[in-house]
Symmetry: C2
Subunit: 188 residues, 2 copies
Amino acid sequence: MDVIWYTAMSMDGRIAAPGDDLAFLETIGVGSAPPEDEFNEFLAGIDAVLIGGSTLRWLVAHGHGWPHGDLPTWLLSRDAQLRIAVGEVERPIHQREGDVRAVLEEMEAAGHERVWLCGGGDVAGQLLAIDRIDEVIATIAPTALGAGPALFDAPDLPPDLRFTLEEVRRYAEHAARLVWRRARDGGE
Amino acid sequence: MDVIWYTAMSMDGRIAAPGDDLAFLETIGVGSAPPEDEFNEFLAGIDAVLIGGSTLRWLVAHGHGWPHGDLPTWLLSRDAQLRIAVGEVERPIHQREGDVRAVLEEMEAAGHERVWLCGGGDVAGQLLAIDRIDEVIATIAPTALGAGPALFDAPDLPPDLRFTLEEVRRYAEHAARLVWRRARDGGE
């Protein structure tokens, strides 16, 4: 099962400004959302979503609810109120807490093969620390934040976490799109 | 006078691992150094260098001394021993401490037009905070560090620090090269 960390970051590798502020996304150009057809193409290749509490809380607070309620969704959060705040969704959200390994096992057991890590940095760091990030799709916005959570915040990573660069190109007006794939000797 | 921040960083925007560890540069491929002709082309367009204490200290500790002693060099550091540790260089190194603004004024008064900020992150953050970074040339290595100083660590940046993306391409084996130029309305 592959886990894909699809996100946007600033020039200096931040996925948000302090206080979960995502205003920097506007600097990507052509609105803050990815081009619809490209994003739909990505979504078409995904069969489940893993999301952290902060990201879902941000979506709810900004009136988006959970926009991908049609996809089997696992929420990693201790916040019992959060699922209630989301409101009605097409499929039940599986809320779990604790070790992310157990969540991945459950997703794998459910037959999912391509999981979108929708956010946030906390979960990404936990996954990278156990070498369970398989792909990173990052849009780099043309602005610097100077502070805020990074693409990966994980103090004790295993050594030699190399990736291969699968794609590098201009994206929207002044953003860049980079796609990395984890390079594992001899497969997983 | 333009200031160019030319550096390398990890996927997650770190310019070093904790402890000023630059081992990640090896993941760029084809050695840790930039292709010689390309780097020489960059150097040919530079007429002075600004360097911070930590970066120069790293170079000296690793036996490189100051490899660009032929370029007029300003060192921003309080460490009185550092210039002595560097040893003999072609031109005297101008060591200064305190406000980076005064250093820039001095460099500008000396007639320099294109300054290479050779490192490190501390100085880059100070310069960005006063909006004196004009260009960023960053090589993104295909590895994650999870911790360490970022391309910019500066808690109180002015708002709306937008750049334009001038170049985006693959570099060496699995690195990416991005060049950004500060977008200022109506010029400097």
